[in-house]
Subunit: 438 residues, 2 copies
């Protein structure tokens, strides 16, 4: 099975655990059998490999997520990087071309496209596999998953099938309705549209060539900036008559808000947190090193990260976005392909950061125009290269780098260091990358 | 007027803003006219000086509070340090001897003793002054303040006066009663005992000499460890027949819990905090650099500091102590006589701290047996002395100190630095102090 996971944009609906560079799919909130926690993307990837160990998984995403994906799924996962945001049709066309031209998958094969963030059980991915097999038959150009509704939701689009059979032709698509209209749809046998669909690669490639002038993946990638924004629904689905839908009646949750997310949590407390016996339906998600104490609260979610602290009635938590948008966008924590960093202190002319490098990883070799930096090694071992000069490092070593000086650090074991940045203008943009000189 | 403020022990009832080394009286929560915030001790000190600019104020406290007191009230305030905890009679005897032998106040003069943490208006200190004048007359050996009760409280002791006059002889003292009994007392004209009383210095000195064999303040201080624990009530008040009480009917609040403390706050938010329009009666006290967002909450107090985060129904907030007692006692923030420090990161074999020195202040000259340290100067200027060698420092400078090496830093302007401690056993006790060698 070929599968493209759409790893959507960053968002603040799960602030303070999600921010402009960390999307909700990377937050580790699901307890696994060995007691550690995994993120949505890790859970989905594990589930796919469980159902089909040979599945070719490609993640379609923006470049800001590449580090987090490699950090969480390793270096072997396929990634189709959208160099610019151009809506779903260009993104799906690019991922399709990536499968054919980079992964060398035959255009005759099928692929299933699905969002990376549904909270589902393994039966969902069995249904995804069935979708792929149905598309393989070539009887329909598109095969959609239709989720049997459990309540008249206003949040989803609806698919009206021709029949109540397990697989049926699609009669009609309906936009997100009001609750009353949703009730009518459900009486007619409508299904939720969960955004999951399968097609033969050659089908979307031909649609792409109809709309875009390009040779292959590499050409499409290079002209991506010039493409028009257009949704896959508008460009393909609404114009296609030969569409089938397959029913799915297992568990399916969309974890877009704190309210729905906490429903999927097995435990009430992740991280350091204590609540007294007068609390009910309280969830604590704490990424800080210090404890949270909750007393006498009901239906409340508390979440703390280096970015901030949310305390919200669960119902109200759907409305956090406009408030969070007003906060400073200073990113206090980030996962990178080489490890992670955490901002510990910000002053007018300095910033202090804790850097953790994973074993065998290194930073880019880079320099800054407007700031000096000092590294103090806390633990681990490895080496630094500063202006071409290599030096072994261990706990307690201090490396000072003036503005303009090229530098990197390479971790042998896990390496932790404090980085003090000093200068009048400290920005993330002030960074020039170089090839390493030895 | 001579006044002794009893600055009581540390406590966790206002965690995370109070901890084992920061007592509630040092938390800056009261907005002043110029928009800055002052603590209970600063507010009370300012109020006393407002009513009587020439007042001799002495703070009776333990040595753990000396740094905070100097930091908040300056170097000129008198402090009678109890070298050990020996209950109120030894503490008051020591402060009394301090006034006579150190401050050279005549034993014929009066002193008023009062707690440092009532939340009151200026009229309270006018009443305190009246108490002092009444004691000056020498008609009674003790003159107490009796606060007119506003409700039948179970939290206070009661004083039954002989008459309802502004000043009356005391008929009887009553322990903290039940609510029903309190109602009876109030019908009889009882007053709350707020722990405020005045006496001639010579009176308590003679009582002290009856119970303790000592020459003067210095002698009493030196043998303080050997004294028995005994309360002032038991040693003096209960045995004294000649006691008067003066009525006070102004505002008087005891801010011992989050519930009562937030009632005294003029604003709902101190520090970075936002609440949406569905919140009511919510208070946010945030000492962190990142924002708190509160939504859909009612009657809740949220407080965050480097020590932790409390989210509590206000009523429930009275019961935090047993929960907080279970948390690690690692102090993450402290005010010192020379400035303050904040723990930024703790690892197995390292600790990273941000140190802020006030202009003109310095650390003790000291060394550590089991840890190396690195200082990175963030801002300000001053000098370091390391093993007798003095060096000027400015932003970006790095100072490395091996275990055993003697060191201090002296701030010319406000000086901020990152201190990285490295070693297998990092403890606050691992510190040897020295006189500075030049």
């Amino acid at each position: 099975m070929n599968i493209v996971l759409l790893s959507g944009g960053s968002g603040k609906r799960l602030w303070p655990l999600s921010n402009d560079i960390r999307s909700k799919q990377f937050i580790k909130i699901f307890k696994t059998e060995d007691g550690t926690y995994e993120s949505m993307v890790q859970r989905v990837y594990r589930q796919i490999k469980g159902v089909d160990p040979d599945a070719t998984v490609t993640i379609a995403t923006s470049k800001t997520q590449v580090s987090s994906i490699h950090n969480q799924l390793g270096e072997n996962v396929g990634i189709s990087v959208e160099p610019y945001r151009r809506d779903t049709f260009p993104a799906i066309a690019l991922a399709t071309a990536y499968l054919v031209d980079v992964m060398k998958v035959s255009p005759e094969e099928s692929v299933v496209v699905c969002p990376v963030d549904p909270y589902v059980n393994d039966d969902y991915f069995s249904a995804v596999k069935d979708l792929s097999k149905e598309a393989d038959k070539g009887e329909a150009n598109l095969v959609l998953m239709g989720i049997e509704p459990t309540y008249p939701s206003e949040k989803y689009g609806y698919i009206i099938p021709v029949s109540a059979d397990a697989t049926s032709k699609v009669k009609e698509f309906k936009e997100k309705p009001t609750k009353e209209v949703a009730e009518e749809y459900i009486k007619e046998g409508a299904l939720w549209n969960g955004g999951v669909f399968a097609y033969k690669l050659k089908y979307v490639l031909s649609k792409a060539h109809e709309l875009i002038d390009f040779d292959d993946y590499y050409d499409l990638f290079s002209k991506y900036e010039t493409l028009n924004k257009i949704s896959f629904d508008y460009a393909v689905v609404e114009k296609e008559n030969n569409i089938k839908v397959m029913r799915f009646n297992g568990e399916w949750k969309d974890l877009g808000t704190w309210n729905t997310l906490t429903e999927a949590m097995e435990e009430n407390v992740i991280g350091k947190g204590v609540m007294n016996e007068t609390c009910s339906d309280v969830h604590i998600l704490n990424e800080m090193d210090v404890p949270i104490l909750a007393m006498g609260l009901h239906d409340v979610v508390i979440s703390a990260s280096p970015d901030g602290i949310l305390v919200s009635d669960k119902e109200q938590s759907s409305y956090i976005k406009p408030f969070v948008d007003k906060f400073d966008e200073h990113i206090m924590f980030a996962e990178k392909s080489w490890g992670s960093y955490k901002v510990m202190d910000v002053e007018n002319e300095s910033m202090t950061i804790k850097v953790t490098l994973n074993p065998g990883h290194k930073m880019n070799y880079h320099s800054h125009k407007n700031r000096n930096e000092v590294w103090v090694v806390l633990s681990g071992c490895g080496s630094t290269i500063v202006d071409g000069y290599t030096q072994n490092i261990k706990a307690g070593d201090v490396i000072t780098m003036n503005a303009g000086c090229r530098h990197t650090v390479i971790a042998e074991s896990e390496l932790k260091l404090v980085e003090v940045q000093l200068g009048k203008e400290i920005t993330a943009d002030d960074k020039e990358k170089f090839d390493i000189e030895y």
